[in-house]
């Protein structure tokens, strides 16, 4: 559907709506190595992110929370992406998505790593929503670094 709703489809791509309606990896993780709450006080969105990290690889991920379609879909896409990835790959993905949403070019290699997450790039045309898309990523990168430093 389109027409009456202008550029909505550019923001809410099918993949986004799918992840929004059926978020992945929502089961809590027992004995999580990385356990953090991220929130945006301006809209009240908040997510609980848990990771199990074994041999420098994310073996398990669980994300629950509430937020708008963009922040929820983004969190779900994040969960899908980081599972099985090394911490270097996770940091690279966080960096790539930041640059992607800022409107910078990303390499083909980075695009391959992000996969479906490129669907979030529609948010660039809606600057006030960029923070929704980045909410879970920013906190995750910091928390993982803290865990590595332990």
């Amino acid at each position: 559907m389109s027409g009456g709703l202008g550029n909505m489809d550019e923001l809410y791509e099918a993949i986004i709506l799918d992840h929004y309606r059926s978020p992945r990896n929502t089961a809590p993780v027992e004995d999580a190595d990385v356990d953090l709450e991220v929130n945006n006080p301006f809209c009240g969105d908040e997510f609980h992110i848990q990771l199990k990290v074994e041999d420098d690889t994310v073996s398990e991920v669980g994300i629950t929370g509430r937020g708008c379609a963009i922040s929820q879909a983004s969190a779900s896409l994040l969960a899908e992406l980081v599972e099985g990835k090394s911490s270097d790959q996770v940091h690279a993905a966080v960096d790539s998505i930041r640059r992607l949403l800022k409107g910078e070019e990303i390499t083909d290699e980075e695009a391959d790593l992000l996969g479906d997450i490129e669907a979030l790039s529609g948010v660039r045309k809606f600057p006030v929503r960029i923070k929704c898309a980045l909410l879970s990523w920013v906190g995750l990168g910091d928390a993982l670094k803290e865990h590595q430093a332990k």
Binding site: M1, L5, G6, L11, Y12, L17, C43, G44, A69, C132
Partner: protein, 417 residues
């Protein structure tokens, strides 16, 4: 005399709309439907022209020169003060202090009157439905003075819970600071009753009138208020200017808020003494152009008549409440009886997050507010993280309400594909 006099101009919404150039704008290819009036209202050409005329014809500094432009600027600036005083039925124009906005007015009272009068063990009473700007200055002051910050709760129906008012307001209450109308719930609070309560224990009452003065007749004497604060930009006036009204004897006894030019009477190298009211509180070159334009805004509203404005908004609110609730997917916060609320409808959709609603409506040219509305504790008390809000003003129409509700329906369709 107060602003409750009937207007001298017929309340004709089409004619009113013609005064607001921005209403001609298209947003995302659609007619603008502006429903974010509780955040700020649009400006009529009469107010815009006042700003342009001032800068093109009058611009000079006030209270300083003997030349013609300075005299004209001073006259315009002071005439605007007189208009504001009459608008809220203040006994004396010197009781009207120009500030930057409601927040500055509130901070001024917290930093001067309350700083001097609230001590250890005293208490400050506010309500659970205050804007952050009427919470945080009191939190800070209470912490600094070892005073207690007390809250009157919001009842389940969105009204103010005054069942325990006689224990909340007690002999140690120095000030009650209350919003006249909630920017989230639309609730109109019983200011006169709270004034009576706090006066009986020797305290004062401050009224945050940011959401009431633009929309209904407000009479500071009838309310028996001691301080009253509001912003021009929420009442067809310019941004960057607000008002603190206070009772003359209170203002006169208060220390200054800022120091500088215009607020002094005499300065020596060692000391200074303070100018008379209102100048004691207006340090430095004031916001002359916007003060004069605020006078033009007051003229504009007075011509329409505040009773007529209130009636128009009540009608729109009742109409909108009924239509929004008929969707069956939306919960409206605050009093369900339109007669008990102002023209602010905050709502939660069963499935669609406010920000997704806001973006979808914007694509249809409809501007609403989304988020916590600068009232985080209140919004959270409804167990939601954010709400959407439509708020009305003089230029809104029933067909705009229809467009808004149709927009909600379209959005529901979009997200349930």
């Amino acid at each position: 005399m107060s602003n409750s006099e009937a207007g001298s101009r017929a309340f004709d919404v089409d004619a009113i709309r013609a005064d607001f150039p921005i209403l001609q704008r298209k947003i995302n290819g659609k007619d603008l439907v502006y429903l974010d009036n509780a955040a700020t209202t649009q400006k009529p050409s009469q107010v815009i022209k006042s700003l342009v005329d001032y800068y093109e014809q009058t611009n000079a500094n006030v209270h300083r020169g003997v030349h013609t432009l300075s005299i004209e600027a001073t006259d315009g600036y002071e005439l605007a003060r007189t208009k504001v005083a009459k608008f809220i039925n203040a006994p004396r124009p010197e009781e009207v202090i120009w500030t930057r906005n409601t927040s500055e007015s509130l901070n001024l009272v917290a930093a001067t009157w309350a700083e001097a009068n609230v001590g250890e063990g005293d208490n400050i009473v506010i309500t659970a439905m205050e804007h952050h700007s009427n919470i945080v200055p009191w939190q800070q002051l209470a912490a600094k003075k070892n005073a207690e910050l007390r809250y009157l709760a919001a009842a389940e129906d969105g009204s103010l819970d005054i069942s325990n008012v006689d224990s909340i307001i007690d002999s140690r209450t120095k000030i009650v600071a209350v919003t006249h109308m909630s920017n989230v719930l639309g609730t109109i609070n019983p200011v006169a009753l709270l004034a009576e309560k706090v006066h009986s224990v020797g305290g004062v009452i401050l009224v945050d009138a940011a959401q009431s003065v633009p929309h209904m007749p407000v009479d500071v004497q009838a309310l028996d208020a001691d301080f009253l604060c509001f912003s021009a930009h929420k009442m067809v006036g310019p941004t960057g200017i607000g008002v603190l009204w206070g009772r003359y004897d209170l203002l006169d006894g208060m220390p200054p808020y800022m120091f500088g030019g215009d607020m002094i009477l005499e300065v020596t190298y060692e000391d200074a003494n303070w100018n008379e009211l209102p100048y004691k509180f207006e340090a430095g070159t004031p916001n002359i152009a916007d003060a004069i334009a605020t006078g033009a805004a007051v003229d504009y509203l007075t011509e329409l008549g505040m009773d007529n404005i209130w009636e128009h908004e009540q009608e729109l609110t009742a109409y909108a409440m009924e239509k929004v609730l008929s969707l069956g997917t939306v919960r409206v916060l605050g009093p369900q009886d339109p007669a008990k609320r102002g023209g602010v409808i905050s709502f939660i959709h069963d499935t669609i997050h406010p920000h997704d609603l806001g973006t979808a409506l914007d694509q249809q040219g409809i501007a609403i507010r989304t988020g916590h509305h600068c009232a985080m504790p209140l919004v959270r008390s409804f167990d939601v993280v954010a709400a959407a809000r439509a708020s009305f003003y003089i230029y809104n129409t029933k067909s705009e309400v229809d467009a808004f509700v149709d927009g909600l329906r379209e959005t529901e369709g979009y997200f349930s594909r």
